[in-house]
Amino acid sequence: MRIVLAEDSVLLREGLVALLTRYGHEVVAAVGDAPSLIDAVERAGPDLVITDVRMPPTHSDDGLRAAVSLRTKNSALPVLVLSQYVEQTYAAELLDTGDTGGVGYLLKDRVGDVDDFADAVGRVAGGGTVVDPEVVRQLLRRRSDPLDRLTAREVEVLALMAEGRSNAAIARTLVVTEAAVTKHIGNILAKLDLPIDADDHRRVLAVLAYLRRLGG
């Protein structure tokens, strides 16, 4: 697929281009600052945007702001944000940009696990949600009163759900049948008063929104 990449470190930009090319994607534009990213997306109309959080012009969270504004303009555009640190605030802002089209927030370190990263790229481009396990871990660590109603296994399933994994992937990870996973998910959603929605992506967002509410 056609990807626009924004990353201000030249070294890493080249590494990412090599990685994405290797998995058969085409990087139509590789830029180093937020205004160029907006320009490139307008010109190339890519299938997916991958951007770093921190970049010129101000070296604060320009990349994230650009990603949010791109999603606000076109909520069907899949965007994957790579962050040096896990920041709840950034993840929340990105996930709040709507529940159509794929959205991803990953720790930059995950790029090194090339297979997993390529997998995440595919899921976001396909309209799924990918959230770094670290974000989920922190969310689950907050006030756990309503979560007390869940069994240990259900909490495990909830964490994997929140990361945006499919039922099949959750089944593989926990070494159970897919039917068992479906049953667990039904129980979790019922216990937490969440809408039972067929759409994976929307369901993940609901779970994340729920977890964030707990944090107050």
Binding site: G15, A18, E87, T89, K108, D109, G112, V114, R142, G215
Partner: protein, 418 residues
Amino acid sequence: MTIWQALRRPRFLLSSWPWRAFAYLASGSVLGMAVGIVLVVVAMTGAVLTIALVGFVVLALLPLCGLIVGPIERWRLRLVDPEKIPTPHRPPTKPGAWAWFVHRYRESATWRELAATLLLAVLGLADLIGLSVACTSVGLLLSAPLIIAFSDRSEEVISIGPGWQINTVGEALTLVPIGVLLAVVLAYLITAWAGGRANLTRTLLAPRDTQQVVALTRSRARLVDAFQAERRRIERDLHDGAQQRLVALTVELGLARLDAPPGSDVARRVASAHEQAKLALAELRELIRGVHPQVLTDRGLAPAVTEVAGRAVVPTTIEVDVGRRLAPEIEAAAYFVVTEALTNVDRHSKATSATVRGRIDDRLLVVEVIDDGVGGADPALGSGLVGLADRVAVVDGALTVVSPVGGPTLLRVEIPVR
């Protein structure tokens, strides 16, 4: 405006400053003479009365005369100095006349006031002579034509030094511009002299220790600012350099793993290198986060504190709403306190839950960290708490810790915000 700034202004002569300077010196000379006379009389009376022992009391009280003259002098100083001087004295620690007497005797302010009083008596005399000479000269020069006109010609002669005598009204008129010029020069001289006297008085009569405290606090604040700036610079250098390089390296090694023949020695080596690079990256990330949290710079206190709480072991609720960005040094101090407090909660409190509250209450940022742990946190024992108090003091804040044995523990910080 200070007297020195007034001297440099073009409209100085038309302003009230020369007259204020004159009034300051004139009142000072009168007061100085009076004080001098009273001191001499009291000292002699005391000396005579030593036979009756009462004299010793009089002589002992004499050095305290500055306590009377000091406030008068501080009040008089406002003629030429707009900045009020607070009293340099501290209230005595114990009640009773004797305690008051001992306390005043031990204060350096008392002795500085005595010095100012003696100086006033001595310099008052000099002021009196100087002002008299100045007034007489100017008055004589300006009124010379009148003196000649209204006097009996054969007798009245104004003599200005040897060989220059004024006998006619015409000649006397030439003295008037000289008088005007002298008046102008004297206006500047008298004002400068008054400024010098005022500076001397301020040096002797202003509280000394608070000035040092203010200077010290300022220098400490500057140090903390410099320290913060340095931390931000280190964070950015590490982020832009080593961190990006390491990420690129893990990508490179990850790709190399794909290329290495499965099960070969090379594959094992590359896999091991890859894992080590990832560990190094994780360690570096934690290190950089400790140096300076980027989210604090980008988004402010509430998001940064939320992030800290997310990493705490004890489940922590965040109720921080300050509604706006604050000065960076205030945000940094508050963030630092919360980080340190939550670390303490994790380490020592054995708590099952904690809460961080933050709000702005009438120009005061109030941040509270509460936990339901075992309590017994003692600021005197924990160097961590002392460090926190120092950190908060630099931004004029105050830290209170309430931690009874058995808990709960409340740590409260109040920092004034503009």
